[in-house]
Subunit: 262 residues, 2 copies
């Protein structure tokens, strides 16, 4: 009896870890993150049923959502949701877990979310929603966009950062944007704490005619780093480091606020 | 000849003002903003062809966009776009204006975008996209959600703030989140520069069965202000002021960054 009690206590002590992403529940990157996270606790997955890249912090208010159990990750409980990445976090807390998880990890994204990409990224917005809920949260992104990418280095970095958060080697009550460079493990130099680089995308819409002769536009763009600093996430990624940027969601420009006289 | 030259110089000197929103091009709020802004320069409208509330900073990368000229606002040049509010700003710069406008104004939103609402708001994300492009930008939102709302006070505030930005009474190279309270003009006390209140939405999904017996979920929520300060946008709105919050898009948590040792 005491043994059973002890075992169930041990099970209760394991943290509950919510995992989501924006590439969709079938993306290799989320499977790579689940494999890492399940070493640290009870993993529950709620992720979009289709790709939702560049959805930013969109939520679904004008139509209903579907949520279905899926059997994709062995013994890991998983659900696909018809909503956005942020919807997935909200419905996970309210309707799947019925409580806040201990941690929320998002990714591993196929493609960088360094610098201004954080604003457009569904993966980082899901992690930010976790943080707004008060859940220690991390978004992981890997510079390689390919679905055939080798996630070995990304998994190594995710494991390092998750271990540091759970063991409180870095502040736990926080939100981090972690990006992993597309380099060989031999060239990898470690994790660097950084600030967000000041960069933007210069849009360039491709203009074409559809089969009925009507004009359409397709968004493309070119990344422009306007930041010369060697303390940014973009600098870190181009110099062999994984970048770790602590993130906040108070968007007040306090410097400017102090200069306003009305 | 000299008179014509002088006149055309005057026309060239008029600023170009881009106007967008997230409630869609037929929403009364955008017409209210156009009526104010056209006093200050050449207004060009590019707005979603359907409501896009709560789209956050979403952009459309996986499918094409349509852009069509519409004749809704008298002599004001206007286009409806099938994309998100942020798409509208991008396509306006690249394919309509072929340059950056002098100002970008978004709204007037039907419903408050104070505090954490800025994160979810398509109206504020469109203004932020303007700011990322380097365009002085303002998002305007009115606490009244109704399409039958009386926009008199909202227009008065928008006019005040636009005048202050164009005449540089407040810093011009900036992004502002302006919210207007739902009160009578008699009770209105003026504009207050504020910080973003620390608040969140507690989600509460309504669970129902569809006509075929399958479960669906619909997002609802309750706004929770966790901030006791009397210097926030929520405080201002509940005390008879319009709130003006200067906004930035560097999400780095610098306090936390200084505490990280890796």
């Amino acid at each position: 009896m005491s043994k059973i009690a002890k075992n169930s206590k041990q099970i209760d002590d394991k943290p509950t870890i919510l995992i989501t992403n924006d590439d969709g529940i079938t993306a290799p990157g989320i499977a790579a993150l689940i494999a890492v996270a399940k070493q640290y606790g009870r993993v529950v997955v709620v992720a979009p049923d289709a790709p939702q890249s560049a959805m930013g912090h969109a939520i679904t208010i004008g139509k209903p959502l579907r949520l279905n159990h899926v059997n994709l990750f062995g013994d890991v409980e998983a659900y696909q949701c018809s909503g956005t990445p942020v919807d997935c976090v909200k419905i996970a807390v309210d309707k799947v877990l019925h409580k806040k998880p201990d941690f929320c990890f998002s990714g591993i994204n196929h493609g960088s979310n360094a610098s201004i990409n954080i604003i457009y990224s569904g993966t980082m917005s899901a992690a930010m929603e976790g943080a707004i809920e008060g859940i220690p949260s991390i978004g992981f992104s890997y510079e390689d966009y390919s679905f055939d990418a080798d996630f070995s280095l990304a998994q190594q970095v995710a494991n390092d950062v998750i271990h540091k958060m759970i063991s409180k080697q870095i502040p736990q009550k926080a939100l981090y944007n972690v990006n992993i460079p597309k380099i060989s493990i031999k060239k990898y130099k470690g994790i660097k704490a950084c600030r967000q680089a000041n960069a933007k995308w210069n849009e360039n819409f491709v203009e074409r005619l559809d089969p009925t002769g009507k004009k359409y536009f397709w968004l493309t763009g070119e990344f422009q780093n306007r930041d010369k600093g060697n303390d940014t996430d973009v600098w870190a990624l181009t110099h062999g480091y994984a970048s770790l940027v602590p993130i906040q969601y108070d968007l007040t420009n306090y410097d400017l606020l102090s200069n306003i006289k009305i």
